[in-house]
Amino acid sequence: MIFFDRVSKVYPDSSVALENVTFSIEPKEFVSVVGQSGAGKTTLLKMFLAEEKPTEGTVFYESTDVHKLKKQDINDFRRKIGMIFQDFRLLPDRTVYENIAFTMEAAGRPEDEIDSDVPHVLELVDLASKAWNFPKELSGGEKQRVAIARALVNQPDIIIADEPTGNLDPVNTADIVHILKKINDLGTTVILTTHNKGIIDSLGKRVIVMDRGKIIRDDKEGKYFI
């Protein structure tokens, strides 16, 4: 489903963010990518989302080289992926409802689908009562649940969660991980980057360990180990 073929990324200042990275991810997998800050986890995700181009190598989604997609095709491709960020990145001037509806509108979904799907996905993350609140009126955990709802609402093939629990307390962290597992159980591929040892150890899923731009371990049922 996703295949990184000998991908390297060297920035103009000669710093190496990725070096000859090769791995694949199958549909419905739950893969955690761990590593210290600067190990190349975020660059890896940016490569996949076509936010940045690799210096060498190719990134495939199914049989498509994502860096050869045209602008409109990149938009269509990104709609198949749900993104969750550490800093939530909600649209501050829109309500919870509007933040989620925006993703559906951007995908060109009709109003009646938006009217039925947004409340449904808000129920799923237990935020139905906060539908008309603005992000600044929510706690960190609630904001992250909105971000998850936004990522989920277009029923993506893949959810990418980049350090989603980095700003959360242990209770909210457990909540978010529980939701991500549930999403994966329902058949969506999940790629999670994290520093949190507890999360990795409790998941018992595949773990890719990165260090200085290289993959140094790739375990089917790994533990947090650097």
């Binding site: 936010e51 938009n75 993104m83 993703t103 951007a106 060109g108």
Partner: protein, 308 residues
């Protein structure tokens, strides 16, 4: 889908305008200043044009005929002058009328009136008063008259004198002043317009810079360029419309206050009356400039943040 997207873009633009009260207010005020400059330039141009037109009107050339010249010959010359492309108006002052005018001008000067009475006849010749379309064209009219000077009765020229040659220096100077005023007015208008456009563009760039993270998120959820740009352009248009209307309201008391002053100083042009009379055109220019400025500035300002 197009209409659904358009509806969503307009709705989002209106929400963004209403929700970012401080940013909207600041942007509207800056744009109002820009549009006020454009408004003042419009009025400045009206004042300049009226003054220059009035000055042009004051310039004329008098062709004075000898007292024995036949009226029919003078009228024939008048007809020839009227057919010249550079001439806008020729008026005939008969000898009797010239005498009346002379007497009226010197009504308080008894010695001149007494001297006139002693002559027993009218010493004044008839006059053709010639107005050219532009002061620079009087030379052409004068040249025409010199060639027509041969028009005579029994070898005696009927034209006594043409006052163009006495007024030539003043007329030339006025032509140059009018030309220079036009060029200067255009230069100042251009400079002010560019400065105010840059200020408005930078203000909108700043508001869009503040939203750059949001734009990146929109990109990452797969929103198309048009769908991201649209609401910002709508907000820019709303800024322009509101600023345009505000400018029209602000101009009311300003022109009212300036109306009397300009009426006395600039040959009867009352700015307030001019404003009311041309309200519809000024509305179109000011609000149209605002809308265009808002839309184009937003379009340019957002482009650099759409590269993700």
């Amino acid at each position: 889908m197009f209409w659904t997207n358009l509806k969503r873009i307009i709705r989002t633009g209106i929400y963004n305008f209403r929700r970012n009260t401080t940013v909207s207010l600041a942007s509207v005020l800056i744009m109002t200043v820009t549009l006020l400059v454009i408004g003042f330039l419009l009025f400045g141009s009206a004042v300049l044009n009226t003054s220059l037109a009035e000055l042009r009107n004051k310039v004329d050339v008098n062709v004075t005929f000898i007292s024995t010249a036949e009226e029919a010959d003078i009228l024939a010359l008048k007809h020839s002058l009227e057919s010249l492309p550079e001439v806008s108006l020729v008026s005939y002052v008969s000898r009797d009328q010239a005498l009346e005018d002379f007497k009226a001008r010197h009504a308080n000067d008894q010695s001149i009136l007494a001297a006139l009475d002693e002559l027993n006849s009218n010493p004044l010749g008839a006059i053709l008063n010639v107005k050219a379309k532009d002061p620079s064209q009087y030379q052409g009219v004068a040249d025409f008259l010199s060639s027509k000077n041969i028009l005579s009765k029994a070898g005696v020229p009927i034209v006594d004198h043409v006052n163009f040659y006495q007024n030539k220096t003043a007329i030339d100077k006025l032509s140059r002043i009018i030309d220079a005023s036009h060029r200067l007015g255009f230069g100042i208008a251009l400079a002010f317009t560019i400065i105010s456009l840059l200020i408005a563009l930078n203000t909108l760039r700043l508001t869009i810079y503040m939203a750059k993270d949001e734009i990146a998120v929109m990109r990452l959820v797969g929103a198309s360029t048009a769908y991201i740009q649209g609401p910002f352009i709508v907000v820019g248009i709303i800024y322009g419309m509101v600023a345009g209307l505000l400018t029209l309201v602000i101009l009311l008391p300003i022109t009212y206050w300036l109306g009397g002053v300009t009426e006395n100083f600039f040959i009867g042009l009352n700015l307030f009356s001019y404003y009311i009379k041309h309200l519809f055109e000024i509305f179109l220019i000011i609000v149209g400039s605002g809308v265009l400025l808002g839309a184009v500035s937003s379009l340019f300002a957002i482009r650099r943040y759409l590269k993700v």
